[in-house]
Symmetry: none
Subunit: 197 residues, 4 copies
Amino acid sequence: MSAPERARKRASLLAAARRCFVERGYHDTKVDDIVAAAGVAKGTFYLYFPDKRSAFSALVYELVERIETGIVPVDVHREIEPQVRYNVHHVAASLLADADMTRILLNHAPGLDPAFEEQVRGFYAGLKALLGESLAEGQALGIVAAGDARLMASFIIGGLKETLLEHALDAGPSVEALEGALMGLLTATFLRMNAKP
Amino acid sequence: MSAPERARKRASLLAAARRCFVERGYHDTKVDDIVAAAGVAKGTFYLYFPDKRSAFSALVYELVERIETGIVPVDVHREIEPQVRYNVHHVAASLLADADMTRILLNHAPGLDPAFEEQVRGFYAGLKALLGESLAEGQALGIVAAGDARLMASFIIGGLKETLLEHALDAGPSVEALEGALMGLLTATFLRMNAKP
Amino acid sequence: MSAPERARKRASLLAAARRCFVERGYHDTKVDDIVAAAGVAKGTFYLYFPDKRSAFSALVYELVERIETGIVPVDVHREIEPQVRYNVHHVAASLLADADMTRILLNHAPGLDPAFEEQVRGFYAGLKALLGESLAEGQALGIVAAGDARLMASFIIGGLKETLLEHALDAGPSVEALEGALMGLLTATFLRMNAKP
Amino acid sequence: MSAPERARKRASLLAAARRCFVERGYHDTKVDDIVAAAGVAKGTFYLYFPDKRSAFSALVYELVERIETGIVPVDVHREIEPQVRYNVHHVAASLLADADMTRILLNHAPGLDPAFEEQVRGFYAGLKALLGESLAEGQALGIVAAGDARLMASFIIGGLKETLLEHALDAGPSVEALEGALMGLLTATFLRMNAKP
DNA sequence: GATGAATGAGCGTTCATTCAT
DNA sequence: CATGAATGAACGCTCATTCAT
C-alpha cells in the first residue's frame, strides 16, 4: 500500500473517530463505534493506531498544530491592529471551521488523563506565553492597558476559549461577525491601538 | 436513622467521593475507591446515591449552588466598584477555597456526558445572563466599555474561568492578590468606574 | 463470609479449574470454562484469583507443597530400605492419588512461561539436591552404586517422573504394585541395601 | 519454483520458527515473529505450512526422526557395551547438538494439545518398546538387572530425558563427559556387561 | 509465487450494580 | 440499615488466517 494511500485510510479512520468522539465523548465512544463508522473491521483500527487513546490524541494534536503554526507573533514596530486581527481570525477560523474538534479540544480533552491533560495544557501555556510577551511589549509602548501581562494573557485566552466554544456549541452568527465583535471587544478594552509608538 | 444522621453519612460519602474524583478524575475513580475512602461497605453507597454519576453530579451541584446563591446582581445606581469587587471575591473565594472542586468543575465536568454537560452549561448560562444584564445597564450609564454585552459577558466569564483554573492548578499567589489583580484588570479594561452615573 | 467458607469456595473453583486444565490444557482452558464448571459467574473467579495464571499456579503449588513436606531425608545410620520405600511411597501416592495433577505437573507445567518454569524447576532442583546428598552419603557407606551422585539423582528423578506419568496417563496397575516394582528396580540397580555400614 | 528451491525456503522458514519457538515458547511466538525472522511476508508462511501448529510439529518430527532412525537395536549376541554406548551417544548427541530443540521437545511439546501430545508420546513409546525388548533379551542372558523390563525401559528413558534436559538447560560439561558419565551410571546399575552370555 | 492489508472471532479482565443475609 | 459476595454485560486488544493484487 502506497504511503499516501495509507495516509488516506488513516485519515478516514480519524474522520470516523472524530464523528464518534463528538457525538458521544471519548469514554462513550467504543472502538466498535469507530470501525463501524469507518466501515472496516475492528482489527483494521489497530493497524493504524496503537490504541484508542492515540486516535483521540492524534485528532487533538492535528488541531493544535494547525493553530500553533498559523499564529504570528505580533511585531509592535509595525501596525498592530491588522496583526492582532489576523491572529484572532486565524484562531477563530481554525476552531470554527471544525466546530466538532473545538468541542473536543475545549470540552472533552481536559480531564481525560494526566498525560493527555499535559499535552493540552502545554498548548495553552505556549499560547499564553506568546501573547503575554506581545502584551508586555505593547504596554511598554503604551498601546496595551496596564496590568499583569501574564494574567491578562490568560484572561484573554480564557475569554477567547469561552466565546469560541459557545459559538461552536450554539452555531451562532457568521465567523466574520464573531471575529469583528471580538476585535471590537479587544480594542475597546485591552488594546489602545490608536496610540502610536 | 434520623434525617440529620442520614445527611451526615451522605456528606461523608460525598467528601470521600470528592477526594477520589480530585485525585483520579471521574472515570478512574471506582465506586470501590469511594467506599474504601469513606470506610463503608460497597452496598452502602447505593443507599445514598442511585449511581456513581449522581454522586459526582451532587458535588458539582453543591459548588454551583454555593456560587450562584452568593452572587449579587450589580445595582448600577449604587457605587459599582465594591459590588463588582464583592462578586469577584465571592466567585474567586468559592472556587479557590476548594481548588479541588474547581479542577473538577472546570476541567473534568465537561465532556462527561451530554446530560451532565447540560447542567454545567446551564450554570454558566445563568452567570452570563446575569453579568450581561449588568454590563448592558453599565453601558447605558457609560461606565462599561461599549460593545456586545452578551459577548462581553461570555468573554469575562471565560477569562475568569481560565485564570481561576490556572490558579487552582498551579497554586499561585494568595487569593487576595489574585482578586486584586483581577479587579485591576477589569477596571483597566471593561469597567470605567471612575465615570459617575 | 467466614474464612473457611471462603476457602471452601476457593477450593471449589480450584477443583473446577483442575478439571478443565486436565481436560484441555492450560491454553485451551478459558476462564469461561472454569466458571461454567464451577457454576458461578465470570466475575466471581476474579474474587478468588487475580488472574487465570494464578489459579493454575496455585494448583501446581499445592501439589508441590504436599510432596515436598512429606519427603524425609534418608538417615543412613538407620535402616535404609524402609526410608526409601517410604519416600517412594509418599511421592508415588501423592502423585497418583491425583493423576490429573500429575499430568499437569509433569506435562503441562513446563513451557508455560519462564517465571512458571522456574517454579517447577526449583521444585525438582530441591528434590535432586536432597536425593543427591543421600546418595553421596550412601556411596560413602558402600550401599549405593558408585558414580556421580548428582547425575544419579537427576536420573532417578527423571525415571520416577517418567514412570509415574506413564502410570497416570495409562491408568496402570495399582499404586502398591507400581511402588513395589519401583522399589525392586531401585534395589536391583542403584541401591545395595544388603550391604551394611 | 523448483522443488529443491521450495524445500530450501521451507527449511529457512523452519529455521526461523525454531529460533522463535526456542526464545519464546510456542504460545508466545506469533506468526509475525516467524516471518520477520525469516524475512518474508506473512502470507508466505501459509504457502509452506497450513498453520502455525504444523511448523512446530514439523520441527519436532524432524528431531524425532533423526533420533529414531539412528538408534540401533542392540544385538545381544555381539558385544553389548559398544552398542549401548553408541545408542547413548547417538541420542545424547542428537539432542545436545540442538539444545534448543531439546528444550522444545522435552519441555514445551507436551501439553500443547491432545493431538500433539499423542505424536510425542508415540515417539517415546517406540523408544521404550525397543529398549524394553533389548532389556528383556539382556535379562535372559543375565547381563541386565532383573525386574520388569518395560518399567525399566521407561525409567531409563525418563532418566535420560531428565539428565539431557538438565544439560540442555544449564549448559553443563561437554557432551562426551556427559555420555561417559551416563554410560558409567548405566553399567553400574542396569547393565552387567562384564557378564558374558 | 509472494505480498501484506484486512479480517473478525475470541478472550482476559473490569466494575457498576444487585440482593440475600 | 449495612454488608460485601456475586453478578454478567461490556470492552479493548490480539493474532491466526485469508485473499485481492
